[in-house]
Symmetry: C2
Subunit: 212 residues, 2 copies
C-alpha cells in the first residue's frame, strides 16, 4: 500500500476520565500522531506559543474564518471564540499524520457531519464509581463541584452512543496502546485505499490484455 | 465492559490471494473465532461431517429455508444451493465468538444489507504481479486458466471498494495478526456497547441523585 493519508480522530470523554494522561502516553510511545491546533480569540497565557498551543487571532479574523468556512467547528466560551482550522488539519492528514482532536460532544458531532470519514472515539471510565473516585482523589474539588461534574457526565453520556467507538480507560498506558491499535486499524478502511484498489485493478487489466 | 456479542466478519478476496492460509494461521494462533457453517444441497464428500463442514439438507428443506428467511444469503452453483444459516451464526455471535464467513462479493453485499453491523473485509495481494506469480507458482494451472482468474479478479476488484476494510496479504502470519487486530477493534464500536454506556449513565444518575 502507498503511504496513505492519516485519519482525523476526534476524542471526547468526561472531565476526569484521563484523556490527557492517555494522550501523553500515546504521543510519548508512538510515532505518526499530531495534535490539531485550535484557533482562539483569547489572549495568550505566559509560555503559550502561536501556532503551537493555539493560533491566536483577532475577533475580526475569527469571524472571517467562520464566514469563509475555514473552520471544522467552532464554539464560544466565556466571551471567546475557539475553533478548529480546516487547513491545518488537512495539511497534517496529507502529510500522513493521524490527527487527534480533543473536543466535546457537540463539536464532535458537528465535525462528523462535515467530515464523515472522521473517527469519533469516546473515552469512558471503567465504571461510574471509578469516575467519582478519580474526581474525589484529586483532592482539589469540593463535593459540590464533583457532583456537578458527575451530573454533566451523565448528560454527556447520551452523546457517546452516537460515536463510532468507545474506549475504556482503566490503565492509561494500556488504554493508549488500545487507542493506537484502534486508530491504526482505520488505515485499512477501504475508503482510505481506493487508489490502491484501483491500481491493482488497472494492473490486472493490463496483464490480462497483454496475455491476449 | 461486559463480555460482548462477537462480530460477524465477512471475508472475501481473489482466488489465489491466500485467504485459506491466513485463516488457518488466525485460527491456530488466536482464540475466540468460529467459522460460519454453510447449508448446501450437494452430497457430502468422503470425510465431510454434517454440521462441521456443511449442513447437508435436501432441496425441499433448502427452499423452505429461503422462504422462511432463515438464510443470510444464498446462491446456486452447478445446480446446488449454498447458503448461510442465520440461526447458527447468531448462536455463535451470542456466545461471544467472532464469526468468519468466507464468501464472494455478491453474497457479502447481500449480507451487509441484512446485517448492517457485519464487517466486510477484502483481502488483496500486495500487487497484481504478486497475484499472477502466486497463481503461476502453484504450477497446477494452464496459462489460459490463470488469465481467466486474473480477469475475474479484475472484475471483482470493483466490489472491494464497497467493503469496510481491505487487508493486504504479503505474509500470511503477519496478515493473520493484522486481521486479528482489525477484528478485535470492532469490539470497541459504540453500537456494540450500548448496554455498557447506558449502565454508566444510570449509575451516574443514581450517584448524583443520592448526593442531593
Amino acid at each position: 500500500m502507498t503511504k496513505s493519508r492519516g485519519s482525523l480522530i476526534v476524542l471526547s470523554g468526561f472531565a476526569g476520565v484521563g484523556k490527557g494522561t492517555v494522550l501523553k502516553s500515546l504521543f510519548e510511545t508512538k510515532e505518526g500522531y499530531a495534535y490539531s491546533v485550535s484557533a482562539t480569540t483569547r489572549d495568550p497565557r505566559p509560555g503559550e506559543v502561536d501556532g503551537v498551543h493555539y493560533f491566536f487571532v483577532t475577533k475580526e479574523r475569527f469571524e472571517e474564518m467562520i464566514a469563509k468556512e475555514e473552520l471544522l467547528e467552532h464554539a464560544c466560551y466565556v466571551g471567546n471564540y475557539y475553533g478548529t482550522p480546516k487547513a491545518y488539519v488537512d495539511k497534517k492528514l496529507e502529510e500522513g499524520f493521524d490527527v487527534i482532536l480533543e473536543i466535546e460532544v457537540q463539536g464532535a458531532l458537528a465535525i462528523k457531519e462535515k467530515v464523515p470519514e472522521a473517527v469519533l472515539i469516546y473515552m469512558l471510565p471503567p465504571s461510574a464509581e471509578a469516575l467519582k473516585d478519580r474526581l474525589t482523589g484529586r483532592g482539589t474539588e469540593t463535593e459540590e463541584v464533583i457532583m456537578k461534574r458527575l451530573k454533566r457526565a451523565c448528560e454527556e453520556a447520551k452523546g457517546a452512543e452516537q460515536y463510532d467507538y468507545i474506549i475504556v480507560n482503566d490503565d492509561a498506558d494500556e488504554c493508549a496502546l488500545e487507542l493506537n491499535t484502534l486508530i491504526r486499524a482505520q488505515r485499512l478502511r477501504a475508503k482510505s485505499n481506493l487508489p490502491f484498489i484501483r491500481k491493482i485493478r488497472n494492473d490486472l487489466k493490463h496483464i490480462t490484455e497483454e496475455g491476449e
